[in-house]
Symmetry: C2
Subunit: 328 residues, 2 copies
């Protein structure tokens, strides 16, 4: 077990029982009287994943003294929305391997992956409408809209090597950090009220989520598939110019810039990420991106100071450290 | 203008102003501060369509004496969910032309069509969470789940020539009629209560929606693209064995059955629907399916008898007639 794995296990330990309850709700929601549907949801039920977003709901509730009986369902809803985005991302990316289980779109086809993602979104919203407060439905419908806008803007900005860091962070924030932010706000505020703490936890979630995405983008250009556990190099194949590449490109001479663009765009190039690593030194760009992620985690952690000391607050701090040291 | 067009114009006339308000809400919801998103939503804003589902919300409200200020938003939400399913269907079908406007997945690509559909669903749910009653969110989250299950089951049942009429209707009902049923129930019940009338209008919507789908399936095998205004013959390309074909297959001799299967499955066949029409006489199967649709419309219309006479009830009756006579 890597140090990052060990840290995650340790920081989720105080909520292990809650995570089990949350997971049971997810599995119950995935079940269907339709054999065709169950066949697929049984398959994706194996994508347990790190459950970071669900953990953030539970830990934010605990750390702010705001846990309710419905927090397990809140965590389950957030995890289901995340699952839906993964299933649709797999269609988008044509990704072949996710978490070492064949992707839905490989085992069945794109058609069914689109429908399964829609089914997961619908289940998540349906469950949210059964809760005692409407805050969850409201926050998550709005968040889902933002996730989509972020993905659409990312798609529109492909092959744009002149993207500013601010624009990059805005897009990465919308497509990833917004769900982390919603998870933390929901944990701290549900069923309602608690606005100041909610805003603080929302900002915490945003920064942690953005740091997560920056590290994800670094792993995609320099990570090894066997360690990351999902296909890597997709951003380059797909024309996504992420922070380590933007930084490298900005500081490169004209000849190197042309070679970087060629690695992304020249027809017939196989293994574009490998080619990119050959034509430029991504090391300093990755180091820069990692420093930016560390800075975000530091800002996030500072926001926790007002909370009562305890296991939940410690675990939230640990979440920041995990995001920085993870290699998968 | 065809008789069906004239009928639709006539039956929507009493709610023309309401439909304008409904449409304004849809367009407002499609707008986005993101240029990349607006660019796409401007495009799909041209898919005005027949607005049958939104009309059913408004007319069911009027006919049951249950119109509220929020009925325009209810209609807009139902239309947006329908739009989302169309956008995702286009990915599923690889359809090239919808309503004589290039489909989203042709003009951009599948990636963006998936995201745009997700965006539309999210907008629809977000708007529903702003209404005064939760009934809309609840009913539509559950309905969306059913739509997906219907589509998934249809996908799982492709190339199944032994499908019973009951199974066919269950699937067609889930993927199409459930949104018609929800539209009518919502119109009659929102913000809540009114259970008996709601159940009756729900059954009305289900039958009208199922009849609509049966006619749609007939148009796909025997309709002309220039009249229908969207690509036809897709069901055969896609392995969907619909009621007119099931009926024809069930009554055919072994040699004809083999030729029908070949029209669907033999590699290299172009224009499979045309081939299908060559190898068997679909006329009696289409006539059978049309009779079944007429029977459903008759059942539906009978349910309106308890409602107060008036323009809205007449328009609901006219909706049934329109569904049967439309050729697009």
């Amino acid at each position: 077990m890597s140090p990052a794995d060990a840290r995650l296990t340790r920081l989720q330990a105080p909520i292990a029982g809650d995570l089990e309850r949350m997971r049971a709700i997810v599995l119950e929601q995935l079940s269907s009287s339709s054999a065709a549907v169950s066949d697929m949801t049984d398959h994706i039920g194996r994508f347990r994943g790190k459950q970071l977003r669900g953990s953030l709901v539970l830990l934010s509730g605990e750390a702010t003294g705001n846990s309710t009986d419905e927090h397990h369902a809140l965590g389950a809803i957030v995890e289901m929305i995340h699952l839906a985005t993964l299933v649709h991302d797999d269609v988008l990316d044509g990704a072949m391997v996710r978490r070492r289980v064949a992707c839905v779109n490989e085992r069945w086809d794109n058609q069914v992956a689109v429908l399964l993602g829609d089914f997961l979104y619908a289940r998540a919203f349906a469950l949210s409408t059964e809760l005692s407060s409407r805050l969850c439905s409201r926050l998550l419908a709005e968040t889902t809209r933002r996730l989509c806008v972020g993905e659409i803007e990312q798609s529109a900005g492909r092959y744009d090597f002149e993207l500013s860091q601010e624009q990059y962070e805005k897009i990465a924030g919308a497509k990833t950090a917004s769900l982390y932010a919603a998870a933390c706000e929901l944990g701290a505020r549900y069923p309602g009220g608690n606005h100041d703490v909610g805003a603080k936890m929302r900002a915490f979630g945003w920064e942690i989520g953005l740091a997560f995405q920056i590290i994800d983008d670094c792993l995609d250009v320099v990570g090894q598939e066997e360690v990351v556990g999902k296909s890597v190099g997709h951003d380059v194949e797909d024309g996504k110019v992420t922070l380590p590449v933007l930084w490298t490109y900005a500081g490169a001479d004209d000849a190197t810039r042309a070679r970087i663009r060629d690695a992304y765009t020249l027809p017939g190039v196989e293994h574009r990420a490998a080619r990119l690593r050959e034509v430029c030194d991504l090391g300093p760009g990755v180091a820069y991106a990692e420093r930016r992620a560390a800075e975000l985690v530091e800002q996030a952690t500072a926001r926790l100071r007002g909370l009562a000391p305890g296991a939940a607050r410690d675990a939230l701090e640990g979440m920041g450290a995990f995001v920085l040291e993870r290699r998968w």
